[in-house]
C-alpha cells in the first residue's frame, strides 16, 4: 500500500484538505470569540479584572476557588465571554479526529488493513483524551 510516486496519496490529500479548512475556521472562531471576550459584550465567568488574582494558582486550586468547570462542563457556559473561546479551542483540538475519520473510508476501500486498524486506534486514543473521563489527581 506504499505510495510509489512523488504525488501525495489520496488519503494524504483528503487529510490535508480537511485540515486546511478546519484550521482556518477554528482560528477565525478563536480570534473572533477572543475579541468578544475582551470587549466585554458578554459577561465573563471570571471577571477580566479579577483574572490576575487567579492565574498564578495551580489549576486544581483555580478550579476549586472559582468552582470552574472541568471536562465538557464548559459547554454549558459558552454564553460567558471566557468560555465562548473554548469553541475555537475545541475545534482546533478536535480537528485531527475529524481528519482521521475522513481518511478511514479511503483506507477501507484500499483494503489497507494495518492502517485501518491504526487509524481506528488513533481515533479511540484521541477520543479518550477528549472525553474528559481521564482525571488527574495528586494535588
Amino acid at each position: 500500500m506504499a505510495n510509489i510516486n512523488t504525488k501525495a496519496s489520496e488519503e494524504q490529500m483528503a487529510y490535508a484538505g480537511v485540515l486546511n479548512v478546519g484550521m482556518w475556521l477554528g482560528l477565525a472562531v478563536l480570534v473572533i470569540t477572543f475579541f468578544i471576550y475582551i470587549s466585554g459584550v458578554l459577561p465573563s465567568f471570571v471577571p477580566i479584572d479579577d483574572l490576575p488574582k487567579f492565574w498564578t494558582m495551580r489549576v486544581h486550586d483555580y478550579n476549586v476557588a472559582l468552582n470552574a468547570p472541568t471536562g465538557w462542563h464548559w459547554a454549558a457556559l459558552v454564553g460567558k465571554g471566557d468560555y465562548l473561546n473554548f469553541i475555537g479551542i475545541a475545534m482546533l483540538s478536535g480537528l485531527t479526529i475529524l481528519c482521521y475519520m475522513v481518511i478511514l473510508p479511503i483506507l477501507f476501500r484500499k483494503k489497507d488493513t494495518a492502517y485501518v486498524v491504526l487509524a481506528i486506534v488513533e481515533i479511540l486514543v484521541l477520543s479518550l483524551a477528549a472525553s474528559g473521563f481521564l482525571k488527574v489527581g495528586g494535588h
Binding site: 506504499a2 501525495a8 494524504q12 490535508a16 470569540t33 466585554g40 490576575p52 476549586v64 468552582n67 483540538s93
Partner: protein, 342 residues
C-alpha cells in the same frame, strides 16, 4: 527590510489597538457577578466555592491587559526567532513565558501545547500536499506518541510546580545540548527496511528540488524508534513542549528518513501528539483563553514575518542566539524549580 519592519509595526499596532479597545469596552460594562455567586446559580458544587482559598493569593498590581499585550509582543518575537532558529514555537514558549510571566506553569503548559498544535495544524496541509510529510510514516508513530502524551499530561498536571520547573529546566538544557551538537543527515543510508517498516509499507518518493531528481526513501530500526516515541510523547505532554527537537533526530538519524521528510513529518506529527495532550489540559481546566489566544496569534504572525526574513538572515548566528535564549530560559526554569531564583 524596511517593508518588513513596517508590516511588523502595523500588525503590532493593530493588535494593541484592538486589545486597548477591548479594555475600554470592558471598563464600560458593569462588573459581572463574582464566579462564586455563579456557582450558587447552579454551575456545580457550591461548597467548593464557599471554601475558596481566594484570599491567600497575592493580587497583581498591573492592569490585566498589560499581560496579554506583553504576551502577544513576546510571542510575536518568539515566532520570528523560532522560524529563523529552526525550532518549534512551543519549545521557546513554555520556558520563557513560564519563567518570566506571572502565570502558573499549569496554564503555561496548556497554552504551550495549543501554540505548538496551532503551528502544526497550520503547516500540516502544505507539507502533506507536497508529499514531504508522510502519512504512512506519521500514523504508526502517532499512535504511540499520542497515547504516551496523554500519560505525560496526566503526570505533568499531578506534579508539584517546583518539580515541573526543575524537570523542565533540565529538559531545556538537554535540548540545548542536542541543538548544539546533533548532526543531521540529508539522505541517511538505509540498506533495507526492517520487517515492521516493510509490512507497514513505510516508504515513499519525493521530489528533491535542490538535486532536481526524485528521492526514494524508507526507514529501518522502526521498533527502537517507536520505543523512543513513548519517551518523546510523555515529555511533550508533561511539559507542554512541541517535540520537534526530539522527533527529527529519531526520524532522521535513527530511523533513516531523509532530513526533509523527517522535519516535515515531525511538524505534522505534532498536530496529533499535541492534540491528545491538549485535550487533557483542556478537560482539567488548564487552558485560559487570555493566555492562549494572544500567544497563538503572536507566534503565528511572528512565524509569517520570520519566514519572510529567513531568506536574508544568517541562520548560524540566529541558531546560536536561539540556543543562548534557551540556555537562559532553561537555567531560569531550573533555578526557579530549585528555589534558588524565585
Amino acid at each position: 527590510m524596511v517593508r518588513l519592519l513596517k508590516i511588523t509595526f502595523v500588525l503590532l499596532a493593530v493588535f494593541a489597538m484592538l486589545t486597548a479597545a477591548g479594555t475600554v469596552f470592558a471598563s464600560n460594562e458593569p462588573t459581572p457577578a463574582a464566579p462564586a455567586a455563579e456557582a450558587a446559580d447552579g454551575h456545580g458544587d457550591t461548597r467548593a466555592a464557599a471554601t475558596a482559598p481566594v484570599s491567600v493569593v497575592p493580587e497583581s498590581t498591573a492592569p490585566w491587559w498589560i499581560w496579554p499585550l506583553s504576551l502577544f509582543i513576546t510571542t510575536f518575537i518568539l515566532g520570528i526567532l523560532a522560524v529563523l532558529g529552526g525550532v518549534g514555537g512551543g519549545v521557546l514558549f513554555v520556558p520563557i513565558v513560564g519563567g518570566f510571566f506571572p502565570f502558573n506553569i499549569d496554564f503555561v503548559r496548556g497554552a504551550g501545547l495549543l501554540v505548538a498544535l496551532a503551528g502544526a495544524l497550520a503547516a500540516g496541509p502544505g507539507l502533506l500536499k507536497r508529499n514531504l510529510a508522510s502519512l504512512r510514516l506519521a500514523i504508526p508513530v502517532a499512535v504511540i506518541a499520542s497515547a504516551a502524551a496523554i500519560g505525560g499530561a496526566m503526570i505533568g498536571l499531578a506534579l508539584k510546580p517546583n518539580v515541573v520547573n526543575t524537570l523542565l529546566g533540565a529538559t531545556i538544557l538537554f535540548i540545548v545540548v542536542i541543538m548544539a551538537t546533533a548532526k543531521k543527515s540529508d539522505f541517511p543510508n538505509v540498506p533495507k527496511p526492517d520487517n515492521l517498516a516493510q509490512s507497514l509499507g513505510i516508504m515513499g518518493i519525493y521530489r528533491e528540488e535542490s538535486l532536481g531528481k526524485d528521492v526514494e526513501w524508507t526507514v529501518h530500526k522502526t521498533p527502537i524508534g517507536m520505543a523512543l516515541f513513548v519517551v518523546i510523547g510523555i515529555m511533550a505532554g508533561m511539559f507542554g513542549l512541541g517535540a520537534g527537537w526530539a522527533n527529527v533526530p529519531v526520524l532522521n538519524l535513527l530511523m533513516g528518513a531523509p532530513l526533509k521528510i523527517s522535519v516535515a513529518t515531525s511538524k505534522f506529527l505534532l498536530s496529533i501528539t499535541d492534540t491528545s495532550a491538549a485535550w487533557v489540559y483542556l478537560n482539567q481546566g488548564a487552558v485560559l483563553p487570555m493566555i492562549v489566544v494572544p500567544s497563538l496569534v503572536g507566534i503565528m504572525l511572528g512565524s509569517i514575518i520570520g519566514v519572510k526574513i529567513l531568506a536574508r538572515s544568517k541562520p548560524k548566528a540566529i541558531k546560536w542566539m536561539v540556543i543562548g535564549l534557551l540556555l537562559f530560559a532553561g537555567l531560569r526554569s531550573l533555578l526557579k524549580g530549585l528555589g534558588i531564583w524565585k
